[in-house]
Amino acid sequence: MKVELRGIKKCFGSVRANDGVSLTVEAGSIQGLLGENGAGKTTLMKVLSGFVSPEGGRILLDGKEALFSSPAQAIEKGIGMLHQDPLDFPPLKVLDNFLFGRDSGFLLKRALARKELLELSERFGFTLDPEAYVNTLTVGERQQLEIVRLLSLGVEVLIFDEPTTGISTPQKATLFATLRRLAKEEGKSVIFVSHKLEEVLELCSGVTVLRRGKVAGEIAMPCTSEELVRLMFGQVITTHVAEEVSLGEPVLELRVWGVHTYRLDLSPVSLQVRAGEVIGLAGLEGSGQRLLLRACAGLIKPSRGSLFLRGEDMSGKSYQKFLDAGVAYLPAGRLEEGLIPGLNLAEHFVLARREKAPFFINWALARGDAGRKIEEFNIIGSPSTLVEGLSGGNQQRALLALLPDSLRLLLLEHPTRGLDVESALWVWDRLLERREEGTAILFTSTDLDEILERSDRISVFSGGKMLEILDASQTDVEQLGYLIGGNRG
């Protein structure tokens, strides 16, 4: 089915997410939709798949104007979307997920559906267990389930929104083979949304580049990555080279140290991190990196081994003691675990103060302090701004501003997730300043490039095991992806 979007417009408040965007996808082809975070890619695709109604523009399917106001109607017209976080039901079984939304009378026809599910997944070489619960699957398997489900509903157009985020290299290879097959052999129209140049170059037959809600250009393949970069950013940006920092004393030492939780066990790890060192934790989500960060912050008690901070054994110490020892932890959910919606910036700075405070708060003084921090960290807001009113980038700046002045160990989860390039650079500049002051940094990221570029050493996680610690200068994306997939050495 040929898909044409003509002059799509959509605003969110004062932000023009889509400002007259047009896009054409031929049947049997893979069209790339490229742009950095916040360029308007997801909004455009949500318009096409019925999640968002546009304020202007038209959608043509095989030349005929199509109107729909819900995702279910879009699927009826043959358009299905796979979301970055698969839109399925994690507590339900694979088979029930497959059945959900296929109206076929009163009773659930499980036997019939199981046969169809198994046939379809075999056709694409997927191995899906109908009786498994979705919350035990990997993101890659959940994508496969969604592909099979949408195909069974007779979808002709498939939209993939950043599908390679959070899947391993072998799974990525399977995914790309599936996408090619869908286009070439099954004649479907595939739209591949990504912010990663190399993936688009590898896979697509044509690329549309979005920048700030507008089409920056359209290119047919083959082309060079320089051309794409110029379209994405307006100019070619040079990548940073990590500066040499002399490493100091050991800050953190783990000795055969393991963590046990209901969901996941982290096998015993031995690791030494020195002052000023940056260690990137690579791996699929849920492989144990987050557990390691939380346990290093003192939030989870280890089940064995010991943890030393600057030579002091921290076994059995509370989270408060870890804070006192100069450890800080920044989780990924900024409004869930970090900031407090409903409180303003000044109140946050009062709460974050580590030194003994007087019983009664001096608000005039507090507002003054907050004002200085806000200026220092370039936060767009005032002491009385509620934190939920800040943009994602400004929330991250606020979180960094809340950190105490002297830190020994900084633990970060996805420090630049959802930020535009400029904010991400700013965040890293700040972190590198910390490192020069002798703070050791451990961070996780789903972006392997970020890990490679920013770390001194990289530790790779898979299924609750820390597989390897690599020197960042001695490895590359291929090797990391291979290890993340669960292969040793």
Partner: protein, 324 residues
Amino acid sequence: MEITLLIRILSSVLANSSPLVIAAMGETISERAGVINLSLDGSIMLSAMSGFAVAYLTGNVVLGFLAAMMVGALMALVIAFASITLHQDQVAVGFVLTLLGAELANFLGEPFVRRPGPRVPYMPIPLLRDIPVVGEIFFRQDILVYASIVLIVVVWFWIFKTQAGLRLRGVGERPEAAFARGVSVNRLRYLYTVVGGALVGIAGAAYSLSVKLGWSEGHTLGNGWIALAIVIFGGWHPFRVAFGAYLFGVLISLGGILQRSIPGVPTQVFQAAPFALMILVLLFVSGGALERLLSLFPPRMRRVVGDALRVAPPSALARPFVTE
């Protein structure tokens, strides 16, 4: 002798637990859809009073049940409107309705206090009632008891075996995904909240017309809270919820026997026992008590036993759904 006593106890547990079972089934389906009807205690009270009043005035038990059903559904409708349409806090609205229901019942029920009224007739089932033991326990009851047992099976079947039940689960687990698959999330939530409320209403009338005949101030006080706790204990699964309700009935009647056999213990202990039991039960399913118990099992069994005992609420419970 011992056996006849046991049969009598089980038979009365079955009868006395039926309102609790019906109310807990109603709450189970509302919560499965993502809406907490916290007003249960007030709803049961008001519907018990209305059911009795209507049956008393008309002399017709069926009309009494209809009235009680409507009262329960109406209370649930207020919760649905306030939480689904107006996005108000379900706990706040539910709590206020609990008080309102109780006060309304006390105010409007005054003329009916301690009046003898009609009751649901005893209805042993021919043939089946003569089966030894089983017949004596199960088939010499009133229709309400039979209905409550059928209800458990129907609710289970509906939730796990039908298309509609799959949609119900989806709406409570991840409304966004249900919407993407063509489900009108909020309409379904209204529907199940109101249906659940109607069942709660029936439970109320089951007290005043069968299990605890008549009406007096605070007639059913506390039972709604126990039903709410049983839904949590039952992990939102109809069979387990029903098990919880019957277990509760057994424990209470054991208490009654103890009371008779050990006269030294003050009666107040047995009056407070249901609520102490309620707290203990919740402590068991939600607290660290379970984890400590699990650590006694060998590691290989921990996961299996843990999965069987641990309960998780519907993921979207009490969370309003808005489309973009």
